[in-house]
Structures are given as structure tokens and as C-alpha cells.
């Protein structure tokens, strides 16, 4: 490992620059009363008649919560849908791994919840860096998601009376999170997957599994289709359609180690970006506070312990730095419950960004535990005493088992050790209120877009957003565009397709020809280390500038040193990986630029230069209350920044306090 870690010579400096573009004024957000915006907007969208829907082709890339729900709903409407996934079945999307739950403003608890409150919590949780219109709509449709999922037969947790159970989650003082043991994502995804399979049987949807999308084809500002690689045969194919939807998930794996599934990647969104789609807020990356700490160099991923654990678990470190006693042997008076002390009203349930930074802070101060000193305790002994083993088992049984399996320690006997890890990306393709990118006919849904979570996502709201986009928003808004495309005949026989195909083939050839000495994983780990160290929990201008250089050098080395065995015309997992990492390297560069340009702290983006004395984020609403939408200007060209100003008509951006 040692050779990998040698710092790149800081003397080779590439200037970190960008150019200023225009203000974005076309987000298509309606105006007027917040509560009526979505309804009125829907009423004004163009419609496509049923007999015309049958003549329209839609490509959906991805079958996670967002893609599967979108494709199934579009199929039900009668469109001709083609779904592409690199997985060997649509049921394997990364969404399957979500554990904790899904929010909805049902107010079944009679605890005062409402659409307004869910809206407010989400926009505040995002540190006032999301659009009011979008977030309100999300809260509004959240209610229908639960109805639909129950009708699909999703076995949510229930109370003895037979009604749905809910629990609380970070960043909220209400119990609005619906769940299915510790496998909510699995159950929701299987619901959407079943609905998708029903449409496959009905003949409206075709699923192409083991296909990776490697480029997006754009002609005169309109999306015309995609270039795919058949992962079994290696064949490169062109696919044309009237509209294309990217539901390809987030880019947390740029960091190499993250809680994301190993194959999750940014290629589809990045390639769309290179074809003209703006990439918004790329540096907004969520680092989740409760993950199992890294144990060795061979480590391939980090495992999340659901945030729901913070409902009953208490976070602490010993009051004496370096205390090596067994945690059970440390008396109550010598434990520092720092979250409860610093944030009395939210306690262990502060939002993720705050909990993550607090863990880093106590570890930086020397209070960390475990062999590396980079961990804190999450302790269930109080809850077990108060509620009994049975209740705790019902709530967290599978998480406890998973923890024990990985670490060899039982949370029934000793507190868990946890540390923050990269988890979710709020940034993504810029989309308007209709979920359309700035390329006409190209849509982005789910984690792939930037839309609803601002600078920080609250727990249990990604599942909500993915399903809101797929079941209840896109099926309406896509018709507005398709209504204008009735007389267009999709064709793959164009120069844009030929060009995109040729470039894809050249990219593959180049990777195979390099025949270097470094494996893709080695180089990816290097990228991950740069990003984690300099564009992770805390950032500053100097480190970011260095990181920018380091990535440039790494990128150049990647194309000289990478070793990709095998050929392009066969099943070749290393080639797949290499293509993805090549794109992560470019995206990493943009993440750094974005983090550097945003001279404020907000949500997950903590700039060390801009914080209060207590280490809390210091926002600058005068200068930075906007979405940063970046435009690609070509290889080795600096990007252009377009600002979409955020107006707050209904909520007042306040200092986000969870004290």
C-alpha cells in the first residue's frame, strides 16, 4: 500500500478555475399558494391520449425504487417502456439495502404531523438549499405512497390492532416513519419490482438486464436515446426513444469506501453531463453517522447500521481520552453522552450531518474508542432494560445480527462501535419541477437528481423521494413533453448515434490497450482517499486546491497505469469497473470545484473557514442561497457555473438549531 500513498508533488499546480454563467430562470416551478401549486400545475400539463401512448417509446435506465416505480407506472399508462439495468435482475438495485424506513405525513399517531410539518422539517433538514415548491410536493404525495405500497401487499410493521406502526427518525420530533422490520427498502423495492414484472407480463415493459448504459445521445438539445453495452457478449448497441429517464442512483462510491452497493456508479449521469446536462451541487454528500468502522486495507465497503438505532441507542465516549477499559466496566458518571449534552432537545436524534461531525469532533479531540480511536459507542443497555429484549429484537434483531457477524461482538452484551461513512449524494443532475434536465426529453429521478434534499437529506426520505418521483410525479410530467413528440420517429440511424457509439468503443479500446500495472481498485482507492481526506466531513480552501491537483494527476496516471485484463467482447467485470472509475475521476474533480466555490457551510458541506465557535455550520444566505448547476465545457476545460436562485416565500431560513 505504501507506494500508493505517496503524496503527489504539490509543485505541479493546475489552477482551480471556473467561469460564471447565467441565472437559471426556467425551473418551471409554479407560483401562488404553496398548497395548490402541484394540483394546478398538473391541471395545466399537456396530456397524451391512450391510443397515442401506445406509440411512444420511453427508455428508463435503472430499476431501483425510482426507476422501477416509474417504469411500472408508465407501463400501466400504456407507454412502451424499455428498462435497462446492469444488474442481472431488476430486483437487485441498491435500493434493496435501505433499512430504516420511509416518511409520510399521515398523522396516524395524532401527534400533530401534517404535510406542512414534513415539508418544513425536510427543507430545514436540507439547510435551506432546496426549492420550496419541490419539497412541498414531496410531502404532499408522501401520503399516497403509503396507500399504494400497502395495496401492493408490502408487509409494513403493524400494531396489535392491525393498523400501521410508525417510529421516529433523525431530524424530526414526530413519529412519521413507516417501516418493515430492518428491511424497508427491500420490501418497497420488491413491491415496485412486482409491479414492474406485472407490466412485463402485460407486454408494456421490456426489461434488459445485464446491460450498462455508457452514453446518452443528444441531438439539438433533445435526448434521442442511449448507447448500451451488453455485459455478457460485450456488444455495443444503440437504442432510440421519444424520451429517456435516468434513475441510476447516487455517486457515493466515488469515495471507494461507502455504504453503497459495490456496483453503484455515476456513469449514466456523468455521461449525460458530458452531453450537456447540468450537474447540480456535486459536493453535497451525506456522511452517515452510524456505520461499522473500517477494519483493514482489504475492506471493500462500509456497512451501515440504520439510523433508526439512534431511537433507542445512546451515543457516548469515555470522559477520559484513551480510556481502555471495557465499555461495560465504565461507570455512568465517567461516560460522556455528548449528543445529549450538546443538543438537549433532539439528543441522539439530531440530523445526520450534525451527528457525523460531532463524532469526528470527539474523535479529533482524542476521545475516540476502538483499535483506531476513530469510533464512538452506540449503547442499547438502557433500552434493553427499559423495553425488554423482545421489543428490541423486534425492532433491530437483524441489525444486531449483522453487526455481530461483521465484528464478532454482540450488541446485546457490549455497545456497538460506530463511525461516519459516505452514504448518500444530495447532488445530482439538475432538473426542473417536471424532473426534466436542461436537455429536453431527458429526465432524472431518485437519487440521480438533485432536487429535494438541499444540502442534507433527512433519514427515511430518499425512499419517499424515489417513489414520489416514480409513482406520482414523472408519470404526469413526462406526458407534457411527450405530447409534443407524437410525430417524431425515433431513429438510431443518425450521426449523433454513430458518433456516441464510436466514442464509447474508443474509450473501451483505450482502457484495454493501456495494459498498465495498477489494478482499477488500487487507483479507485487512491481517488477515494483524496476525496475522503479533503472533500469529506470537513473541507477548506487550501486542502481542496491540493486535492484538485491530486485528482488531476491521478486521472492522468489512471490512463497510463491501469491494467484491464481480457477483451471487450466478453463478460469482463474489470472493464466495467474501469469505465466507471474513469468517470468517477472526472466527477471527483467537479465535486472539488463545487466544494471550493461554495464559501459557506451548509448542511453536509462544512467549510472550516465558515463555522461558529461551537463548530456549527455558518450559512451565507446573501451569497449562496442558490443551486450550483455546472456545465461541462470539454476535456481539460474549466466548467461553467449557472446559479438557480432559491426564493423562500413561505419559510424563513433560520440558523438550523437542534439544541
Amino acid at each position: 500500500m505504501s507506494e500508493i500513498l505517496t503524496a503527489p508533488s504539490p509543485t505541479i499546480t493546475a489552477p482551480l478555475t471556473w467561469s460564471e454563467g447565467n441565472l437559471i430562470e426556467t425551473s418551471r416551478c409554479p407560483s401562488g399558494d404553496l398548497e395548490k401549486r402541484w394540483t394546478r400545475h398538473k391541471d395545466n400539463l399537456r396530456l397524451v391520449a391512450p391510443h397515442n401512448k401506445r406509440k411512444l417509446d420511453i427508455i428508463v435506465v435503472g430499476a431501483g425504487l425510482a426507476g422501477a416505480s416509474a417504469a411500472a407506472s408508465l407501463g400501466e399508462l400504456g407507454y412502451r417502456v424499455k428498462v435497462f439495468v446492469y444488474h442481472n435482475s431488476p430486483r437487485r438495485a441498491h435500493s434493496i439495502a435501505a433499512q430504516g424506513g420511509i416518511n409520510a405525513a399521515k398523522n396516524y399517531r395524532n401527534d400533530g404531523d401534517s404535510i406542512w410539518r414534513l415539508f418544513y422539517d425536510t427543507i430545514k433538514g436540507g439547510d435551506f438549499r432546496a426549492r420550496e415548491s419541490n419539497v412541498y410536493r414531496l410531502a404532499e404525495v408522501s401520503v399516497k405512497i403509503i396507500d399504494h405500497c400497502v395495496a401492493q401487499g408490502i408487509p409494513f410493521a403493524r400494531e396489535y390492532g392491525g393498523y400501521l406502526d410508525t417510529r421516529s427518525f433523525g431530524g424530526a420530533q414526530l413519529m412519521r416513519t413507516f417501516y418493515a422490520r430492518g428491511q424497508t427498502g427491500q420490501q418497497l423495492l420488491l413491491g415496485a419490482y412486482n409491479a414492474l414484472q406485472r407490466q412485463v407480463a402485460a407486454g408494456t415493459v421490456q426489461v434488459f438486464y445485464n446491460y450498462e448504459v455508457l452514453d446518452i445521445v443528444v441531438e439539438e438539445g433533445r435526448a434521442k436515446g442511449i448507447i448500451v453495452r451488453n455485459l455478457i457478449t460485450g456488444e455495443i448497441q444503440r437504442v432510440a426513444a421519444h424520451a429517456t429517464v435516468l434513475a441510476t442512483g447516487g455517486y457515493g462510491n466515488a469515495y471507494f469506501l461507502s455504504t453503497n452497493a459495490r456496483l453503484s456508479n455515476a456513469t449514466a449521469t456523468w455521461r449525460a453531463h458530458r452531453r450537456g446536462a447540468y450537474f447540480a451541487n456535486p459536493s453535497f454528500v451525506q456522511i452517515h453517522p452510524t456505520c461499522i468502522p473500517q477494519s483493514g486495507d482489504y475492506q471493500s465497503k462500509l456497512t451501515l447500521m440504520s439510523e433508526s438505532l439512534r431511537n433507542d441507542g445512546r451515543v457516548w465516549v469515555p470522559r477520559t481520552p484513551g480510556d481502555k477499559r471495557r465499555p461495560q466496566g465504565i461507570p455512568e458518571s465517567e461516560r460522556w453522552y455528548y449528543l445529549e449534552e450538546w443538543y438537549p432537545s433532539f439528543g441522539n436524534l439530531v440530523p445526520r450531518d450534525i451527528a457525523s461531525r460531532a463524532a469526528k469532533r470527539v474523535c479529533d479531540m482524542g476521545y475516540g474508542v476502538g483499535p483506531t480511536g476513530r469510533a464512538v459507542y452506540l449503547d442499547f443497555s438502557d433500552a434493553i432494560q427499559r423495553l425488554g429484549r423482545e421489543v428490541i429484537y423486534q425492532r433491530y434483531g437483524n441489525l444486531f445480527e449483522m453487526y455481530e457477524e461483521i465484528t464478532g461482538e454482540s450488541p446485546w452484551e457490549t455497545p456497538m462501535r460506530i463511525y461516519p461513512a459516505v452514504h448518500y449524494t444530495m447532488g445530482g443532475l439538475w432538473v426542473d419541477y417536471n424532473l426534466m434536465t436542461n436537455i429536453e426529453g431527458l429526465y432524472a429521478v431518485g437519487e440521480a437528481n438533485f432536487s429535494d434534499h438541499g444540502a442534507n437529506r433527512l433519514g427515511a426520505s430518499a425512499l419517499m423521494q424515489g417513489l414520489a418521483d416514480g409513482y406520482f410525479i414523472l408519470p404526469y410530467t413526462i406526458g407534457d413533453y411527450l405530447a409534443t413528440q407524437l410525430f417524431v420517429k425515433p431513429s438510431t440511424d443518425t450521426t449523433a448515434f454513430a458518433q456516441a457509439e464510436k466514442e464509447t468503443q474508443q474509450r473501451i479500446e483505450k482502457l484495454l490497450q493501456t495494459k498498465g500495472t495498477r489494478t482499477v481498485d488500487e487507483l479507485h482507492r487512491e481517488l477515494g482517499k483524496i476525496l475522503w481526506d479533503h472533500c469529506g466531513l470537513a473541507r477548506n480552501a487550501k486542502d481542496l486546491a491540493e486535492a484538485y491537483n491530486a485528482i488531476k494527476l491521478l486521472k492522468e496516471r489512471f490512463w497510463r497505469e491501469v491494467a484491464v485484463p481480457g477483451t471487450g467482447s466478453e463478460f469482463n467485470q474489470n472493464l466495467e469497473k474501469a469505465l466507471r472509475v474513469a468517470d468517477f475521476l472526472e466527477l471527483g474533480e467537479l465535486m472539488i470545484i463545487d466544494a471550493y466555490h461554495r464559501e459557506e457551510s451548509c448542511g453536509c458541506h462544512l467549510r472550516e473557514e465558515y463555522q461558529t465557535e461551537e463548530g456549527e455550520a455558518l450559512r451565507d444566505d446573501k451569497k449562496f442561497a442558490y443551486v450550483a448547476a455546472w456545465q461541462w465545457n470539454g476535456e481539460n476545460q474549466s466548467p461553467t457555473l449557472h446559479q438557480e436562485p432559491l426564493q423562500f416565500e413561505f419559510v424563513k431560513p433560520t440558523v438550523r438549531s437542534y439544541k
Binding site: K106, H148, I154, P155, Y209, G296, Y298, Y471
Partner: protein
């Protein structure tokens, strides 16, 4: 730790395939089985040799991607656990570990340890859903579901679609997989309208895909990482007989 690995290598579906032997040293007992294979692959790439292809993604036991036959057992020596959740501390130092793909007629090999399990998707297409269109659902709490039924439905719904049940079965039957879906919906009020046709169609599709018959050996449930109980199969069998013997009020109107 040190291991001798006997790994099945097969270039593609047409190739006949063979075992290759690799020695691997310095493995941490805390490394997962897949991380051990990562280390092997890194070594092979550095030596200019073909790395071993294997399926994986979530690496936490939920996506159902991973799955290999290890020392003669689906997902390896432990019961009820996926390959990705195996750790090297579960093996003896110096042990020879034999690694093969899941073997079943309905799961053709794609390369090395990777097999095509899309036949399972086809079984779901045959009826593994509730026919409800987006937008037409009543309020979620309008139909209460007794907690025990909901809990049992969850137990059956937990299937990850890995196919270990098929690989573990001497008949290569997909009964546990199919039964899990049938039993899940059978527990819920929402699943009732299509209950009879669902079981008939899914069983017919299972046969069509070339999966073998179930002879109740129970080998599947021993390996099933989602711990789907054999009561799922009993439920399917009851429903199947009932669906074939008694008239279906829903089918009456359509036929």
C-alpha cells in the same frame, strides 16, 4: 491465514470448464469471503492472469447477487447465510476451499462463478404481484391486517431471490422461492382476489422453466439466507390443491 482455493473456471456458457488451484496467504480472519476473492483477483491481475468472475453487489446479504457453492454447500459452511456474509474466520487455517457456481439446469453458467438466474424473474412475472394500478389505492389504514398475519407475511416476503434453495436441492426445485411469494400474499387481505390463479400460474411457470419437483427434503431451508420456513411450501401445497379443486369465483366471470 493461508488457504488453497480450488476454483471453477469456465470462459463462457459454451466452455466445458475446469478447476484451477490457487494459493492465498496472509488473509485476515476479519476479511469477508468476497474480500478474500478480491485479494486473489488483484493478485491475478498483477500477474497478467484472468481474474475470477463472481456476482456481488450489496455485500450485506440483501441483494441476492452473490451465491456460490463452497465446499459442496450453497453459500458455504454456515446455515442460512449469504456468501457475502461469510468471514474467513469461519474457515480453518490451511484449509482447501472448493468454490463452484450454483449448479442447476435452469441456471446456465455465464462465466466462472456467475450464473443466469433470470428464470426466477419469469416465475414472478407469472403472478407474483397484486394487480393494483398506481393511483387507485384506498387509505392505507382502511383495511386493518392482524399483526401476526402481517409479521408472517413479512417472514415470507424476506426472500432475496438468491437461488440457493435451487442450488441446495437435489431436484433443483425452485419451490421455496415460489412458495415464499405465494405464502406472503396468502397472508394478506390484499392478496386474496388473485390467490388461486397466482399459485396455479406460478407453479406452472416454475415447471416450464425446467426446475425440478419438490420432494420435501428440506435442504433448501437449511441454506436459505432469508430463513424462509418450510411452512411456506406447506402453504403453497394447500393453496395449490384448493385452487385446483374448488371453483374460482374470480375466474368464472372471465372464462
Amino acid at each position: 491465514m493461508h488457504f488453497t482455493l480450488r476454483v471453477w473456471r469456465q470462459k463462457n456458457a459454451q466452455d466445458t470448464g475446469h478447476f484451477e488451484i490457487y494459493d492465498i496467504d496472509g488473509v485476515s480472519p476479519d476479511a469477508s469471503f468476497l474480500e478474500m476473492l478480491d485479494v486473489l483477483n488483484e493478485k491475478l491481475i498483477k500477474q497478467g492472469r484472468e481474474p475470477v468472475a463472481f456476482d456481488h453487489d450489496c455485500r450485506e446479504g440483501i441483494c441476492g447477487s452473490c451465491g456460490m457453492f463452497i465446499n459442496g454447500r450453497a453459500h458455504g459452511p454456515l446455515r442460512n447465510i449469504t456468501t457475502c456474509r461469510l468471514y474467513m474466520r469461519h474457515f480453518r487455517d490451511g484449509e482447501t476451499i472448493t468454490i463452484e457456481p450454483f449448479r442447476a439446469k435452469s441456471f446456465p453458467v455465464i462465466k466462472d462463478l456467475v450464473v443466469d438466474r433470470s428464470a426466477l424473474d419469469k416465475i414472478v412475472q407469472a403472478g407474483g404481484y397484486i394487480s393494483v394500478n398506481t393511483g387507485s389505492s384506498p387509505d392505507a389504514n382502511s383495511i386493518p391486517v392482524p399483526k401476526p398475519a402481517a409479521d408472517l407475511a413479512f417472514t415470507y416476503a424476506a426472500c432475496i431471490g438468491c437461488g440457493a434453495c435451487v442450488a441446495a436441492c437435489k431436484n433443483a426445485s425452485a419451490m421455496l422461492f415460489t412458495a415464499a411469494k405465494v405464502a406472503h400474499f396468502a397472508m394478506l387481505p390484499q392478496g386474496q382476489p388473485e390467490r388461486r390463479q397466482r399459485v396455479k400460474r406460478m407453479v406452472a411457470q416454475m415447471d416450464k422453466e425446467g426446475f425440478g419437483h419438490c420432494t420435501n427434503t428440506g435442504a433448501c431451508a437449511v441454506e436459505c439466507p432469508a430463513k424462509i420456513p418450510l411452512t411456506a411450501i406447506a402453504q403453497l401445497q394447500r393453496d395449490f390443491i384448493w385452487a385446483n379443486l374448488s371453483p374460482d369465483p374470480h375466474a368464472a366471470s372471465s372464462s
